[in-house]
């Protein structure tokens, strides 16, 4: 079983804490000049996304988490699992709904996603920061309203509903920031 000593701690290192895989966000050495050193560590639980803080007596070892990020292409969703394919090896994996968090509503077929694997199984799927999706449904915009800078809801081809400016019409391609869920711009065809 691989493990890391506190002196190997640095941002991005993946550890097992309370049976869950975590990633180090920040590691601060606290050391009285003549005394015992401690590491104050801020981590993200990769399963829940929650940020936690822990202190370690320096010199302790912590179990390493076998966690890697791979780029995979989304294939389809059969209602139970989301299927992804490695574009190089054509290897397929099935991610459960729980791994999708928010990502499912932003992706369409062939979208390249970051799949975090823990012991080879999908843990979290992250959609690209920006996606381009077509509007499938929205109320017709009213010409005179553009000056108000108002918004209206629009349904996208992936199923997500976002707020868009009033001038957006059905069939248009939009650029969306998946982290905030906000409309960025129109995409010229």
């Amino acid at each position: 079983m691989a493990s890391y000593s506190t002196n190997e701690f640095r941002g991005g290192l993946k550890l097992i804490l309370d049976n869950d895989p975590c990633s180090i966000i920040e590691n601060e050495l606290v050391k009285p000049g003549k005394g015992q050193a401690f590491n104050r560590v801020k981590l993200r639980n990769l399963k829940t996304g929650r940020v936690l803080e822990r202190t370690f007596k320096s010199g302790e070892s912590v179990e390493a988490a076998d966690v890697i990020d791979v780029e995979m292409e989304f294939s389809y969703n059969d209602g139970e699992f989301w299927y992804f394919m490695d574009p190089v090896t054509y290897e397929q994996i099935a991610a459960p709904d729980s791994a999708m968090v928010d990502s499912g509503k932003w992706i369409k077929a062939q979208e390249l996603c970051t799949v975090t694997l823990w012991n080879g199984a999908p843990l979290v799927v992250a959609a690209p920061n920006f996606v381009e999706l077509a509007v499938t449904e929205t109320d017709p915009g009213l010409k005179g309203d553009t000056a108000q800078g108002g918004t209206k809801p629009a349904t996208l081809e992936s199923g997500a509903v976002v707020k868009v400016p009033l001038f957006i019409e059905e069939g248009e391609m939009l650029k969306i920031d998946t982290r905030s869920g906000e409309y960025v711009s129109r995409v010229k065809a």
Binding site: R10, K34, G35, Q36, R54
Partner: protein, 360 residues
């Protein structure tokens, strides 16, 4: 390939460093404290189990005899090993024993494995010794020095004893409390137990037949708990924009300080903090060669128990102490951290010209 060559400190901060170094030299010149230089590389090293020296491997292999403090001959090294100093203390004490009188040094010091916002393996230290001073007189002088360097709004100083700080903040006497009491105190104050401190060694009934070793182990554990309460609660409770002198540490953390003449549970050691940031460590110096030899040996014993490398004891220092170290106090101040306060930067590398050498 993009090779980063730029300094990590701004030119402005580099100039502030120059100004501070000048001011420090002027302060000591006015007080007739002699500036000295001592070797950075040494045959012996600090034994303190909490401090790791960089070892320098020489290509030369040599077999040589060393006469130990007790007069016996030992074959000390087969390969020539040297160490980078973690402080200029041992050499400076040899100068004091040789009759130098008051001395100061601006030295580069090295500590392996210390990296972070406030730590860097190579850093600058101001160390000075005053003959005939006790630790309170040296705190007075340190306060004068720092007051002269800091702007008006950063000149508040306070002083509190280690014991009183624990009583005020945690309602516990750090000298009388055992590990069990310290652990309970931590729980009562909702202080998290660091991972690695909640294991077997901590249960107080754990007597075994090793006698001394067990006692030592318990003391060791007690110091770890004191250190934890110290960083988590005591230092964190110090007034934010003030300097705090904390003095008279537990005897188990005496390091190179003498024990208090009226209360052997405490050592005449002090530290200076700004808010919770540790800036300096000083002693009313231990002058007893035998006690110093025992402390070195005891440090190496702890190193053996923890499976750390034992360090070559500085017999030259012990011989100097035996010949006679004048009654004196000494203190080491981290120049880089002082500069962090003056410049308001968030990372130590921002006050060091090339402070990213050790970043991975």
């Amino acid at each position: 390939m993009h090779q980063n060559w730029q300094p990590t400190a701004s030119l402005q901060n580099i100039k502030i460093r120059a100004r501070i170094l000048q001011a420090i030299r002027a302060f000591f010149a006015e007080r007739n404290v002699l500036e000295v230089e001592t070797p950075v590389i040494s045959n012996a090293a600090v034994t303190d189990p909490q401090i790791e020296s960089f070892q320098i491997e020489s290509f030369q292999v040599e077999n040589f005899q060393v006469e130990s403090f007790s007069g016996q001959n030992h074959s000390q090294h087969h390969q020539k090993d040297y160490y980078l100093q973690t402080s200029p203390e041992f050499y400076m004490k040899r100068l004091l024993a040789a009759g130098s009188g008051d001395i100061f040094q601006l030295a580069k010091v090295f500590r392996d494995d210390e990296n972070g916002r406030y730590h860097i393996p190579e850093f600058s230290m101001l160390e000075w010794y005053r003959v005939g001073f006790n630790h309170h007189q040296l705190m007075d002088e340190m306060q004068s020095l720092i007051s002269g360097l800091m702007p008006e709004e950063k000149k508040h100083f306070q002083r509190i004893s280690y014991q009183q700080a624990f009583i005020n903040e945690l309602q516990i006497d750090p000298f009388d409390a055992d590990v069990h009491a310290l652990k309970q105190c931590a729980q009562k104050h909702n202080i998290e137990t660091p991972q690695g401190m909640d294991d077997g060694g901590m249960d107080d009934g754990g007597m075994d037949d090793r006698g001394m070793d067990n006692d030592r182990g318990m003391d060791d554990d007690k110091d770890i708990w004191l250190d934890w309460l110290m960083v988590e609660k005591i230092a964190a409770g110090f007034a934010k924009n003030s300097f705090t002198f904390l003095y008279d540490y537990p005897a188990s953390q005496a390091s190179l300080a003498r024990l208090d003449k009226d209360d052997a549970r405490k050592a005449n050691r002090f530290e200076l903090f700004y808010g919770e940031l540790e800036l300096a460590n000083g002693y009313y110096e231990l002058t007893d060669a035998n006690e110093q030899a025992q402390r070195f040996e005891s440090d190496n014993e702890i190193r053996r128990q923890r499976q750390q490398k034992t360090m070559p004891v500085d017999y030259a220092l012990l011989a100097a102490l035996q010949s006679g170290l004048p009654d004196c106090s000494g203190v080491a101040l981290g120049i880089d951290r002082l500069l962090m306060l003056l410049t308001g930067v968030g990372h130590i590398k921002e006050v060091i010209s090339f402070g990213d050498e050790f970043e991975r």
